[in-house]
């Protein structure tokens, strides 16, 4: 089985997975950057705009309202965006593999017994479910 996996690593769709990995990383970093700006910016805002931060909104100091209540739903939105985009990237990669598998490029190594063939069916199923 180990040897089979080493073959997989050499197989041309390793390249597809590497591309997928880079796209996932870029997506993760993008969402993380928004989050870091929000959570890292707030202490600076509090430090340099103490009067704005203390403005009363419905009785709450503005910065308390933001940190104690509003910050949670903001992170839910960021997470939901990430999960949706990340699933999309993965499904695209999966269908790219499926396409290549249907028409192997010249020189490609033969498909492994039981590997991609068996899984292309399960992918079709999960693709519909999503």
């Amino acid at each position: 089985m180990n040897e089979g996996q080493d073959d997989l690593a050499n197989h041309h769709y390793a390249e597809i997975v590497q591309r997928l990995t880079r796209r996932q990383a870029a997506l993760g970093l993008r969402v993380a950057a928004i989050f870091i700006v929000l959570i890292g910016g707030l202490p600076l805002y509090n430090m340099y705009n103490p009067h704005h931060a203390a403005t009363s909104i419905l009785g709450f100091p503005a910065t308390w309202l933001f940190l104690g209540i509003l910050f949670f739903p903001i992170t839910w939105l960021l997470s939901a965006y990430f999960v949706r985009e990340s699933d999309r990237i993965e499904l695209e990669a999966a269908s790219a593999v499926q396409r290549d598998h249907a028409a192997p490029p010249p020189g490609a190594e033969p498909a492994l017994p039981g590997g991609p063939t068996a899984t292309s069916e399960s992918k079709a199923g999960s693709g519909e479910a999503i």
Partner: protein, 655 residues
Amino acid sequence: MTGVNWIALAFVIVTILATIGLGIYATGMAKSASDFFVAGRGVNVFWNASAISGEYLSAASFMGIAGLIMKNGYDALWYPVGYATGYLFLLLFIAGPLRRFGAYTIPDFAEGRFNSPWMRKIAVIVVLLIGFFYTMPQMKAAGVTLGAILAWPYWAGIVVVGAVITFNVALGGMKGITFVQGFQYWLKVFAISVPIFILCSVFGGYNSTLGAALDEPKEVPRVDRDTPLQFKGKVSAPANAVSFSSVGPTTLLFPKGAHILKVSPVRKPQPGEAPMPAQDYPSTGTLPDGSNGYVIPPGGAYTARPWTVVKDGKPVMKDGWPLLTAPKIEFYDPTAAILKEGALAPNAPPNGKWIAPFGPMTSKYDNPLLYTYSLIIALVCGTAGLPHILVRFYTNPDGRSAKRTTLWVMVLIGVFYLFPAVWGVLGRANLPAMYANNSTDLAVIKLPTALPNKLLGQILSGITSAGAFAAFMSTFSGLLVSMSSALAHDIYGKMIRPHATSDERTAAFKVSAVLLGAIAILLGLRIESFDIAMLVGWAFAIAAASYFPLLLLGSWWRGLTRHGAAAGMLVGGLLSLGAIACTMFADLKWITLDVSPFVRTLMEQPAIWGVPLSIATMVIVSLATQGALPKDVDTKMLRLHAPEELGLSKNYIEH
């Protein structure tokens, strides 16, 4: 502290019995060793998210945050925010790859990623380190909660609760717990939310209570009736200290007299400043151990008066006002006292400092911004490195459901974390006596008893006590499972007896659970004076500087070698642990730390240097040892990131 709250006791007993009952019921389903470790790997997304949330919402979340917000105000809001939003990093960078790699535990990941059995040993050490740090606050919560409900001594609560949970874990394993954890999440949400709505309808709302504090920045909460207080003795230092308010004079009556170890100004005098006025000292006398101190006769009183700090004959000004300070006294032995109606609550910061950022918690060592950022880094990165949470990601069927589960966890715990702050705010306004007793960690248990309707108060207090029990039972169980798994599965099953049968492994798990439970109880007995949420924060700081870099770089950087990973984990984890241990020993007055405020801040909140140091060590050592890359590193990277459809995923352990 008067008598036993029978209603609360009934609620607690029902919670314990329900937990054990569910555990026993579920044991019928836990058959093979694989069931014990990761619950058969087929738990659906919503139930698994409930279980992760149930396990995650510990005593720190249920009691500690409310207490810390009551004590320190705005700054403590970073705790719930960090605890909840740390899952974002877990989601973005770790949840999917970790599940796709398909290992049972973090030590499995550490070994599998580098083909290196000794990485497993290092990872196990870190599991135990973080685990013990995290169990200490759970133990404290058990001790103080039972103390409040039953008037039991601190140690008794710890021993009873610790023994019950240890027994339950040894009996049921994790399948029982997945089931019980999910149930406990819903119990905890109910227990933190429903009582506070009722309390708000009596005491006033979240926003109006905050608004009142915002309008009176110089005011300190006052007790609204004659309030009996019970101070601790010097064995509980630093919890034996009372800092009086600098807003006005405060009188304490001592019906049975008092022995006072030390009287000093709250604000440490700077060179050149006049000392504390002589008339503010109580009369000197001999303490029971023969040393010199201060003695107040039975029925006597002590009045603490603020005074203006004077330097070189001129008042010291701060923000345009003369700077005031007040006395702080430290008791020799447990002492009963009465705070008269209308008295300012000792130990309570004034409204303006409490409600605004950079208050007493982060400004303690004059570097509030540094303290805040370091705390944020610890909480956000630490969440992504907690062993008892990470192990649950293997119960997802695939990487995609692991991400969905994380999203649901963020929603479930985010909803929960809206409430502790309300408790803290209402606790400050309505039960300020808790400041004087250094017992703000009991805000959620005690606040309902301040209701005019005593029966309703006891019922609500019973509900929150049940929630608190659910909290420390579930987290302690989860920790005990991951620590026992580390010993039984990683040490016994992989190193000592690789060919052990399923029965032998299960027996090893049970023995490990009992052993570790006993150690956790002993540790818990030592830490009564620390804030629950602070202790958990430290466990996060250690996780952030050890596991988080391992998982982050291990999942995303092909070039990470076992030497780099091991060096980074050990350097980051152990140095953070050392800094935190020094802080704790200094707080307990076992050692004195003579360092600058800047260094002191970095020691109390080490994540800001610990995390980068760990990552940098990993990168540098890895670059120097590229020859040690596993031969199949490309396959491993593929397996971490390839969607299941590509057929690369293969569980590290087959069953």
